[in-house]
Symmetry: C2
Subunit: 195 residues, 2 copies
Amino acid sequence: MSEEATTPSARQVELLEAAYAYALTHGLADLSLRPLAAAIGSSPRVLIFLFGSKDGLVRALLARARADELALLDRFGPAGRKESIGLVRAVEEVWAWLAAPEHRPLLRLWAEAYARSLVEPDGAWGGFARRTVDDWLDALAGCQPPAERDGEQGTTRRTLALAVLRGALLDLLATDDEARVTAAVRQQLTHFGGC
Amino acid sequence: MSEEATTPSARQVELLEAAYAYALTHGLADLSLRPLAAAIGSSPRVLIFLFGSKDGLVRALLARARADELALLDRFGPAGRKESIGLVRAVEEVWAWLAAPEHRPLLRLWAEAYARSLVEPDGAWGGFARRTVDDWLDALAGCQPPAERDGEQGTTRRTLALAVLRGALLDLLATDDEARVTAAVRQQLTHFGGC
DNA sequence: GAGCTACTGAAACAGTCGTGTCAGTGGGCG
DNA sequence: CGCCCACTGACACGACTGTTTCAGTAGCTC
């Protein structure tokens, strides 16, 4: 049914991983087959052969990035967990991950893909932003106690939590001022629980 | 001193305005001179002549977009105002503007430029994200009462306000779910003032 | 009228893009 | 051995890209 339902071959995942590392430092916007192939020790011919087309490669790269994202989310909000940790602790822990300098490249790539998918909803980028919002809202919902999770107020609270995380991340990526931005997130957490 | 300190000619601002309208609907990422020129009734030759290069044109377009942004900010936080309206009201009013459907294209363009300037800080896009964060923080500072404005807590509060606005905007652009996102912003406002 | 400035059209330049063609390689398995 | 299959190199195709060259044209001032 899908155009690429076949299990990826060993060589395919090897090249995808190399291309992913390349994309993390060079960005996806002006990604070009020839420079990429030269950098990862391959050739445009092979990339086209393995991924079908450049669009296919980009789709694979976006899926790869999303896998990293989902792996992060799984650490905090495994939907079927016994006891939920609550939104406050979830935001706290997620922010620690987002603010870590070693994750900057991935988050820049994420921002790039997100923005691009807003401008042109069709093609390889299509739906990335939408998908990522749903991923995160679901994960945050998994962190809320059941009583809070359902109902309008629960939706509102996790939407707000996501907004704070995303907005703070944008600020951090632009200014690199971790002290100021982290202080803002902390400020939110103190007001978020009580009241 | 600057490479383009000359006052823009009438024809230049006319074409810039047309190109700006084009960029608002088509995005900046894969902007190309020939299709753009054809759409606005000009020619690649003329665009190069008037703006020096494609980079010059992109820079002019980004400056044009920033002008729109600064015009918005001026409406809320004119730095030398007699009485400050406070962060809560500022966020409230700014959000009303951001959530208006007719501003969607501008905000998509903004997100695109922001993300791109994160990935490649050099070139025409360079520094856009950084500049825009400073613009907004300054504007929000202008809305805070003087006693709150200075000091660490004031900085933290306006950083948080900006993060909520930006994060909510990202959500809105991706999901178009104005009711949910606006509810989240409102929720924040009730907690923001009191406590 | 001459001369200057601002703008414009047509065509071509060198380069890069994604992709297709054709001919192989090497290894596992019958 | 021979066959197949995943993979690969060299190369060319056509369609773009930003930019340049050359040759203007309108309008203004002197």
